[in-house]
Amino acid sequence: MLRATLTDDTFYLNLGPQHPSTHGVLHLLLRLDGERIVECEPIIGYSHRGHEHMAQQRTLSQFLPNTGRMDYLAALMYNHAYCLAVERACGIAVPPRAEYIRVICAELNRIGSHLLWFGAYLLDLGGITPFLYAFDDREDLLAVLGEITGSRLTYNYCRFGGVARDLNQAFCDGLEAFIPKMRRRLADYHTLVSKNIIFINRTRGIGVVDADTALAAGFSGPCLRASGVDYDVRRAEPYSLYPELDFEIPTGQNGDCFDRFMVRLQEIEQSLRIVEQALERLPEGEVKAPAPQHPTPDPGDYLFTYESARGRVGIYLVSGGGRVPLRMKWQVPSFNNLSVLPSLLPGTLVADTIAILGSIDVVMPEIDR
């Protein structure tokens, strides 16, 4: 579409697909007038592996490891979402202890995802130090999670009816040290970044999305909340333990890059609160209830929604009554969040493109599936 309008004085810039600040293989074809963007066309699909097609070729249990490979930064959350979806459709009960462990792990995963985003975003904007801080904290977190999950990135820890193994002493000790350290570091982050005038000038008033635009564009997660809409699936359609837990939904007002940044940092604090509460109330008991090896939902369709680090994940499962589903659609938050770029970018500077794209927090393998 863009090529057809080529004239001598237009400048085209291919941002990506191999560019560090495109966070994976995203290709933005930009038409420029000087430094300003006239038109932007995102080209996606470089990491399309056909997860939805794979889901139609195997049983629900066989698909479980795939879930952690879509949004690889929120693998535990995708695990959790998928297990909750299948358990609800098939009527599988989960022991309370297992559900507490899952929530602890999912929220730690959310912190880890936000930490990586925080570091990478500041790196995009030219600040190296926060990246080193964030990865140091994330390393502690990965070590803690590794104690029970056995992996660092593409977790496959949840099972239908529970989790793979119980908490151990090393996990509890590690977490006890991590939570206060993370709180101290959060204060440092605000001192180092949130009050930094260079950072504020790069992000305040940049990439503004108002609430109506955000809703019409299908935004969800921190991007939507930064525009002032307090929509969080954990509140709107509570699942798991969230109705019992005390936490706040941070929102912004201006819907700019700075607000999206602040919302995520505040979410780290809220996730820490959730983890603390869950640890405090952690009941004794089993961590895995018996479940069929290949759960089979009754014929019909089932939609389950979940709040992942980037927004609402929708798992739409259509069963014909067999072990292998007829259809499994994964509605992923970054897909809609990214689709706003063609209307958001025109008129902005190339340097702001990086600030805007980073603030949306896209994970390309999640979008491409």
């Binding site: 579409m1 996606i44 699909g45 399309h48 056909g50 939805e52 097609h53 139609q56 070729q57 609800r88 459709a89 809703l215 019409a216 564009a217 299908g218 809409v229 929509y231 709107a236 359609e237 019909g300 369709d301 089932y302 939609l303 389950f304 929604t305 609402r312 929708g314 739409y316 259509v318 014909g320 007829l326 259809r327 659609k329 509605q331 897909f335 809609n336 689709s339 706003v340 209307s343 491409d368 599936r369």
Partner: protein, 156 residues
């Protein structure tokens, strides 16, 4: 909800609402309708402040079932709108009413070959532009012919 029902009946003619069990299947009602009435329905829903969550399709081997999920986010209330299209029959695009439908319709086109009338730029979104198949269709068989070297990566 009753107000929305009345509004829809007024502007789009009477529709059949089927109740569903939200605690099991995640939505409260299903509306089955004909292709021609989709745009009218989408306008009323947009005017009433419902958001479009996503569009997808299900291929059971006899035409496509297009599925649209609309919701009122704050209330946690969700509506499923479904319609059937025969082989090769286009559906109306609603991306002028809901901007989010733009990429969603492209994905349905890419995966199922469903055409949307009135879409400004209906082309593949996840698969390469020269792919000659729609992988989520009922009759699609994955095989060697769809491996990477099938595509001309040097193509302009």
């Amino acid at each position: 909800m009753h107000e929305l029902k009345r509004l829809l009946d007024d502007r789009c003619g009477s529709l059949s609402w089927q109740e569903a069990e939200p605690a099991l299947c995640g939505y409260s009602h299903t509306i089955w309708l004909e292709v021609e009435r989709l745009r009218c329905l989408a306008r009323v829903l947009a005017d009433s402040g419902l958001v479009l969550e996503f569009i997808t399709a299900v291929d059971r081997g006899h035409g496509l079932e297009l599925v649209y999920f609309f919701s009122r986010p704050a209330a946690g209330w969700r509506l499923k709108v479904a319609l059937r299209t025969a082989e090769g029959q286009p559906a109306p695009s609603i991306c002028d009413i809901y901007p989010v439908a733009n990429w969603q319709e492209r994905e349905v086109f890419d995966m199922f070959g469903q055409r949307f009338d009135g879409h400004p730029d209906l082309k593949r979104i996840l698969l390469p532009a020269d792919a000659d198949f729609h992988p989520l269709r009922h009759d699609f068989q994955a095989g060697e012919q769809h491996d990477g070297d099938h595509f001309d990566l040097e193509r302009d």
